[in-house]
Amino acid sequence: MGLRRNDRFPGRLFIVEGIDGSGKSTQLDLLHKWLVSLGYLVVFSEWNSSPIVKSTTSRGKKRHSLTPMTFSLIHAADFASRTNAQIIPALEAGAIVLADRYAYTAFARDAVRGVSRDWLRHLYSFAVKPHIAFYFDVPLDESLRRILTGRPELKYYEAGLDLALSDDPYESFRLFQGKIHDEYDQIVREFNLVRIDATENLIRQQQVVREIVAPHLNGLMRDGNGGLQTALQEANLKGRYLSQGAQRGGATG
C-alpha cells in the first residue's frame, strides 16, 4: 500500500526522517534558509502541530493514558489535519513544503509499539508521497551520545516507557531508539528514502542535500517582491512595530 501520488501538484514536498539525535532538523533548517534566500515560497510543517488535534495529544501524554493504538490514531489525526489544511493547499499553489518527520516516523515508532505494519500503511494512504525523503543515517551509539550527554529529562513516551522495556528512563530510551533504528532500516529500503550519512560534518551534509534538491526546483513559484526586508529598506523604515513572527516570515525564514 503506497502513499498518494504527487504528480498532480505543481509544488514540491521535501521531508526529513531519522532517529532523535540524527541532526535532521538542523539540516532541514539550513535547507529552509537556503530556499527562502533564493526567493522560493516555503511552507514548513511540523510533526504534531495541528491546532485542532494538539490539545488531545497532550492530554493523553500528560495522563499517560495513550495506548499504542490511540497513540497511533491521534498522531494520524494530526497528520491528516496538516495534510488537508496545510500541505495539500500549499502544493496545489506551487509552493515548497518542508516537513520535519513524515508518515515514516509513524511506520517506525508505531510498529515498535506492536501496531500492525500493514494497517499503518493503509492508515496513512491519504498522505502525499514526498518528492524527496531524506533519511539521516546515524549509528545508534552516536545518536545516544548526542542526546544523552548532560542527562536531559526524557519524557514518558519519548523514552518509550509505555513499552515497559526498562524502569530506567535512559535504558528504556536506548532500547526504544535501537528498535526504531532497526525499523527504519527496513523502511528506507521499502520506500527508497535517500540516505544521508549523518556522521559527516554538517556543512558537507548540507551540500549533499542541496545538490539533491536543486534539480527539483525548476519552474517553481518564486516570490518576486524580495521579501519584507527589501521592502523595508526601500521605504527606509526599520519595521520597529512589526511582530517578531512577521519579520521572521518575511526575510530570514
Binding site: 495513550l66 495506548t67 499504542p68 488537508n84
Partner: protein, 261 residues
C-alpha cells in the same frame, strides 16, 4: 464467555482471551430512538440482576472534548474527523469496554463503529480505507439495528431535538435549507446502514413501530445473549505454580484476637 474477536488485526497488548461479559450494540440513524431504548434496557437488565455499563460516541476521556471543540471550528476535513472518532472509539474500547467485559458486565453501547463508517462514506471517505482503519474494533456479541425510513423518521426528529447541523449533512451538502438537506442526507445514510447490516449480520428491528414493541424485540434478543451468564464460573486467573494454601494450613488466629464476650 465472550471470546475476544476483532474485525482485523487486534490492538497490541490485548491477549487472546475469553471474557465473562457481553457486548451489546444498538445502531441506527439519528433520532430513531436509540437512547430511549438503551435507557429502558439498562433499567430492565439491572432489575434482572446484571451489572450494566453504558458507553457511546464521543464519551472517551481522551478525545471526547477534542471532537466537540474541533466540530465548532471550520477547518475540519472528513479524514481528520474520522481519525478523531477512531481515537475516541479506541480509547473507550481499551479503557471502558474491555475492562467492563472482563469484570463480567453487560456493556451497552449507543452506536458503534458502523455509524462512523456510514457517515464517513456518505461524506466521500473511501469505504475500504475507513473499514480497514476500524479493523481493530472488537466484534460485538450482538448488533441491533433500529431500522426506519425517512418518512417515519421525520416526525420523531421534529418532536424531539429538531434538525441538527451535522445530522442534516449541512457540513457538506449545498444550500441552507436544513429540511431538504436532512432528507437528502438521511436518504444517503440509510442505504449505508443497510449495506453494513447485511455485511455484518445485524439483528434488524423494525423501528417504525411503537417504543414498547421495539423494546420487546430487544429484550428477547438480549435474553438469548445473556442467558447462562449467571451460571458461568468467574475466571480468576490462578497460576499453576502458585497454589492456594489448603485451608488446614492457614494459621489460626491468636487467642488474644478473639473478640471478648
Amino acid at each position: 464467555m465472550t471470546q475476544l474477536r476483532f474485525y482485523g488485526d487486534p490492538p497490541p497488548g490485548i491477549a487472546d482471551e475469553s471474557l465473562p461479559g457481553r457486548l451489546v450494540v444498538v445502531e441506527g440513524t439519528d433520532g430513531v430512538g436509540r437512547s430511549t431504548q438503551i435507557a429502558l434496557l439498562k433499567e430492565w437488565l439491572e432489575a434482572s440482576g446484571y451489572a450494566v455499563l453504558n458507553t457511546g460516541l464521543r464519551r472517551s476521556s481522551l478525545a471526547g472534548r477534542g471532537i466537540e471543540r474541533a466540530k465548532l471550528g471550520h477547518t475540519l476535513d472528513p479524514i481528520t474527523l474520522n481519525l478523531f472518532y477512531a481515537t475516541d472509539f479506541c480509547d473507550r474500547m481499551e479503557h471502558v469496554i474491555i475492562p467492563g467485559l472482563r469484570a463480567g458486565m453487560v456493556v451497552l453501547t449507543d452506536r458503534y463503529v458502523f455509524s462512523i463508517i456510514a457517515r464517513a462514506v456518505v461524506r466521500g471517505v473511501n469505504q475500504r480505507w475507513i473499514e480497514d482503519v476500524f479493523g481493530f474494533a472488537l466484534v460485538p456479541d450482538i448488533i441491533f439495528y433500529l431500522d426506519i425510513d425517512v418518512d417515519h423518521l421525520l416526525p420523531r426528529v421534529l418532536s424531539s431535538t429538531g434538525f441538527d447541523y451535522w445530522e442534516s449533512g449541512q457540513d457538506f451538502l449545498r444550500g441552507h435549507d436544513l429540511f431538504k438537506n436532512f432528507i437528502r442526507y438521511q436518504s444517503r445514510l440509510l442505504p449505508q446502514f443497510q449495506r453494513l447490516a447485511e455485511k455484518h449480520d445485524f439483528n434488524v428491528i423494525d423501528a417504525r413501530r411503537g417504543v414498547l414493541d421495539i423494546f420487546a424485540d430487544l429484550q428477547s434478543g438480549i435474553s438469548d445473549i445473556v442467558a447462562g451468564m449467571m451460571d458461568e464460573e468467574p475466571s480468576i486467573a490462578v497460576q499453576e505454580d502458585d497454589e492456594l494454601l489448603p485451608m488446614a494450613e492457614i494459621p489460626a488466629l491468636p487467642a488474644s484476637n478473639t473478640p471478648m464476650k
